[in-house]
């Protein structure tokens, strides 16, 4: 297992499985993800990486006949235990999807949406949150003079940064990113990657990507999933120069997948 001195494990899976009906999409995975680092999950389509990611904020609840076994803990709390407040969970575990999905509202209202749900009503307080979130998401300078404009008028890359700003507006501890740059052009992709580097340390970031070079560039740790199993988990530098497992090597060098 990966030891990061001084970093506590924020997310811990222990014999954790996810089933879609009788199909075991994630198979008894055990791994510990340290706080404040960027961890990427790689693997071929259907390997269970997105299913695992979605389990962290219980997005799989929306899928009929989906159930879990084993434990998945956030800061020691079993996420699938009875009585877990999913709304509160999703406040502390934000998510960004493959395609930017801003609400058809103003830029300001997109960011203020979450804080409002969680009870912030004061306009000046909201304005502070909006500015701070957009600044952290490296979007403020581009939109500060048009906060009232519809968010759908932004470019794809800007929309994705808006979604990241929206996710961090409710002060989550974890950010989940499912292929956050795969629908973006190279310049926007590199802005997202720069942004991930900026957010590193402030949030625990879990990113699923098909782009292995992106995993290599942005993450501290890399987990390789194959057919629902966690094959290898380790420091990204080690995985991409000298993987321990043959299957990891075959995958990252493009010999299968």
């Amino acid at each position: 297992m990966v030891e990061y001195p001084g970093k506590k494990d924020l997310i811990a899976a222990e014999g954790f499985s996810v089933f879609y009906g009788s199909n075991e999409a994630v198979k008894k995975v055990t791994l510990e993800i340290p706080e404040g680092l960027v961890t990427s999950i790689i693997g071929p389509s259907g390997c269970g990486k997105s299913t695992f990611l979605r389990a962290v904020n219980r997005m799989n609840d929306l899928i009929p006949r989906c159930r879990t076994e084993g434990a998945l803990r956030l800061d020691g709390q079993d996420l699938n235990a009875q009585g877990v407040d999913v709304v509160m969970l999703r406040k502390s575990v934000g998510m960004v999807f493959q395609k930017p999905n801003p609400f058809p509202k103003s830029i300001f209202d997109n960011i203020a949406f979450g804080p409002r749900i969680h009870g912030v009503r004061d306009r000046s307080k909201l304005a502070v949150i909006v500015e701070k979130s957009l600044t952290q998401a490296a979007l403020w300078d581009e939109v500060k003079d048009r906060l009232g404009d519809n968010a759908l008028g932004l470019s794809g890359g800007q929309q994705q940064r808006l979604c990241i700003a929206r996710a961090i507006a409710v002060k989550p501890s974890v950010l989940l990113m499912d292929e956050p740059a795969s629908a973006l052009d190279p310049a926007s992709t590199s802005r997202i990657e720069d942004l991930i580097a900026e957010l590193r340390g402030k949030y625990t970031i879990l990113i699923v990507t098909h782009n292995m070079q992106q995993a290599a560039r942005v993450s501290d740790l890399t987990a390789f999933f194959y057919e629902g199993n966690l094959i290898e988990f380790g420091e990204t530098g080690g995985i991409f120069t000298k993987p321990r497992e043959k299957r990891t090597e075959d995958y990252i060098t493009g010999r299968f997948g």
Binding site: F240, K242, E249, T253, G254, R255, F256, G257
Partner: protein, 229 residues
Amino acid sequence: MEMALHIRREIEHLKKDILSVGTVVEESLFKAVKSLETRDAALAREVIDSDEVIDHMEVELEEECLKALALHQPVAIDLRLIITIMKINNDLERVGDLSVNIAERALFLSQNGKAKDLLNFSQMAEKTRKMLGKSLDALVNENTALAYEVIQADSEVDRMNREIFLQVHEMIKADPGNVESLIHLLSVSRHMERVADHATNIAEDVIYMIEGEIVRHKAENFRSPDEQL
């Protein structure tokens, strides 16, 4: 289901190229040694002239490697292989230069009858050439056992180099009139010892390529302390 055919093809291409460089350099070393042993000025000149070819091949292969890195962004074994080829390419080019150095000494000695048979290099030359050949075989066959044999043989060549140093030292004392020829011969010994060092570097890089483990400097462990000059 074979993916990434492009990089597979590219790597096969680079492997073939490094072997071509290796073959040309081995031949150059062989001729340099022969020109020394036979005091063959024409053969020595041939070695000196052919260095341009090696230099050209080296630059071309390095550019191919850089292109492969930039275009395919290889990882794991593919990355280690290309980096290893780049490093070996460098070592081989240096062996080419050393062959030229040996040939230049041969050229001088061919014009100086007095130096004939002063020192016998055949054993050292044979050992050194074998090391280089073996290091290239280790690369081709991805054979770490062969690579370790090369690393171990290096101390033997070092020992021969020291012996020649001592012999030259004695000979200069005994007959100062031969000093110029003897200094040239001492250089030859030094060049051969350097060739053996490059063969050792190649062997170490082959081990890195296969095992992902950098054994350089650890190789010191193979030598006993009394072997250090």
